[in-house]
Amino acid sequence: MTTTENKPAEGETVVRERRALRLSWVDGFLWAIRIGAIIIIAVGLIGSISKFAAGEGLTAEGWRDLIVSSLAQGAMYGLLALGYSMVYGVLGFINFTHGEVFMSGTMVGFIAANWLFENGIWDANPFLSMILVLIVAMVTSTVVAVLIERIAYRPLRGAPRLIPLITSIGMSFFMQYTFAGLFGINFNTYPPPPDVIAGTVNILGLEIRTTQLTVIVIAILSMIGLWYFVTRTKTGRAMRAVAEDKEIAGLMGINVDRTIVTVFAVGGAMAGVAALMWSLLFRSVNYIVGFIPGVKAFTAAVLGGIGNIGGAMGGGVLLGLFEGVGPILILGGLGIPGVTQLKDAVAFTALVLVLVFRPSGLFGERLGSEDRV
């Protein structure tokens, strides 16, 4: 930069050249990551395929089960991702607490499930029990999400970006240890699923575990409901308008504060549905179950394009697949031992890779006017 002071014209070009050089250096690094990632994935794939051809590793049934269970988990991530995506679309910050909103649903849902089980309703009337647990989880998550918005985020409207983000991190830990204090730190286990959904079901010649099928069906139904809500109702239209531009939406007579509460409530309700799915898939819950799924769900939201509701669901399913199948398919193919330990690392690597390859997500971002860069 010092050269610019003496010889402005010449110095300017020097600076420009230097900037260009530096950019190319960063670009080169990013390209190296991209190419490296592609090579690793390709080598891993080839390794896995040759292994499969040689009859080692997982069998065809093994792969199929893995894919179906990954899909079910991905559907759960997708529902969680909706909450991140919508809040980011409207308020422009990562709501770290969303994972804890989900966790609160699983924990309070457990109380309901436990009560139903002890009173014999769980086995006698499984369908009703599921619906009751779902309602309890959804109501809890919705109330928690709305309360958090009211207490922690509303006073910060218009503050510099870093502030609500840090608040949400603090709130997330506060919630975790609130639940740790109330429920204790041990795992609580949901009662075993009722017989109706305990077995497997045969669809088009594929044996699928009924719980996983249930989870996928619930996810599809919730998505349809949400799609209807957002595109066809007045409140949904208000939500989209606020996401587009808060000020102008306010000028058009939309109650911005109330709409933001609705966004949190809808996100919370979807987290409640995800909580029921968690209880079906994994059964054991404690105060920590929200954090890592939360981060992964955010990854899913970014993968699908933040602010894009359909994208969040798609991103969730893709992430579930990548996380479930990826370690065995790619890392296993590379001959790395103990790949299932690396599941979380693979999911986080996916986040980094998405942001390196395509930061605006696979299906495109839908952000408000202020956030479009």
């Binding site: 502030i163 991190i169 429920f183 103990g338 979380d344 986080f348």
Partner: protein
Amino acid sequence: MTATIAPAPTSDQSVESRVQWRRMLRVGAVVGLVMMFVSANGMAATFNGRLIIYPILSLGYLVLYAIPFVGGTQFTKREELEGVETAPPSVTDAVNAALAGLLGGLILGLFAWFVDAVPGVRTIFPSMSPEMVDVLTFGLGVGPALVLLPLISAAMGALAGGLSLLSKTTNKALRAGALTVVSFALFQVVVDDFFDFLPAVPDFLYTRSALTIVAAIILFALGAAGSIYLPGRMPSIGDRLGSSDAEVRRRTSLWMAAIIAVAIIILPQFLGGILNELLINVGFFALMALGLNVVIGYAGLLDLGYVAFFAVGAYTTGVLTSPISPTINPMLTWWQAFPIVLVLAALAGLLVGTPVLRMRGDYLAIVTLGFGEIVRILLLSDWLAPYFGGAQGVRNIPGIPVFGTEINVTTPHLMIYAVVFFVALAAFISWRLEHSRIGRSWAAMREDEDVAEAVGVDTVKAKLTAFITGAVIASFAGALFAAKVGSVFTNSFKILVSIVILVIVIVGGMGNIVGVLVGALVLIGILGGPNQPGLLQEFGQYKLLIYGALLVYMMLQRPEGLVPSKRRQQELHQEEFLQDAWLDKHGRFVEDHDHSPQRPGPSAAEPGRGRES
């Protein structure tokens, strides 16, 4: 204009004079819920084990009944608005406060009754036990408690309201007295250690690790008297440091530095093992917080995976020096390994920094969080176990050889010098950097990246320097940690560590070295880190709850931290600045309370941040 800022004074007057039912109910409900919360998560019962004044007061009751007190102060608080007369605190306020306390106590009493009546809740909420009911009801049973609890908390509310009726001096004296008693009771370890040469003093003060009643009364009187007599006689250091005379300022800071230096050199020899251990932990966290301060405080980049660099430092040191390190086993000394550690940490900073260069600010947070977890998972994995020991970690790490002796886990009174040295070094580095060219580009970048880039700040370089500096400082802490503990496990590098460091930086004051050091001393000293106990070991399982709450509270009430950096404060309160500047321009007299507008002109012209004002 008047409509937007000046509230109608007439309606206020009529409201002030009578009981504010709505507000009372709201505060009372909040007080009750918070008291319930503190009991339901087991805090009250756990803290009850720690006595403050021997037979009469425990920490549990202190915490519990501080809640209606704090609730009561809500009624005596006055929002200061320029140009509007506010009524002084009155008896009505005290009545309001007492009523709110009454309601809160009633809620707590009903909660105790509920837990007593439905013993089944215990199967799901383990803390809602008969012991908790015992603590809440003073062992008297639920019936009397339903009367007693509301009365006590009403009394606490009334006390809060009543105190404000007294003169300012009396108030201050009473507060100082209470504070003295509580700090002496809580920091018994420190007092014990300090009066090592004169055990009669702690023997007189304490019985069964709590103050005796007599000691409490004497300490209260001393504290109260001190608050009245001392301030007038001791020219405050703050005044001198803020003095306009450069010579006075220089001399005072030299004296301060000299006193601190002497204290640091002498003190560790006199302190007992526990306190030295504690100070070493404070030092580790202070180091990491200083590093994170460079990243978030100066450059404005939120790094949630900061602990990864600490892990890189610790593991590199371990692998390079430990004689039983599995595959790579050069068996260097600590000093030989140290430069390699720094280079690797810088590389790690570069590796994390480069892919996130172009990311939106808040994506950075989650990506760094991901990086932090990736590092931990990899270190723990079977795959890399041949290099890093997996779950077993790296053990038998030798200490730091200095002048023929070795500083290691057995020599905390020497280790502390090493820690202090590196803290001082890190503080010096960050101070020099802050006031250098790169420091100014960090400031420009954190305020507005696009504008900074437009005026010729090389943001790529600025970001990477911040990441690398932060990583190197964290690796200091890691290398020391490995030498101090003698073994490293992934357990020490959980994400919680990153969050605690973040809390230190935020509570202390982003962008302020003194603030960060104070934050580390207060938080780690009192509450402790995720795996390290602090002075108040009772807080053990609740400290993360408190850290989370502190983070939220600070962001809502005081985002600039306890010891704010001037510039950071201005940025964080920009909206208020805009408002003040706007009022200035429109000829209204602005009397500022917390934040004087240092540069009203330019900051007013800075658009974009405060959207609606």
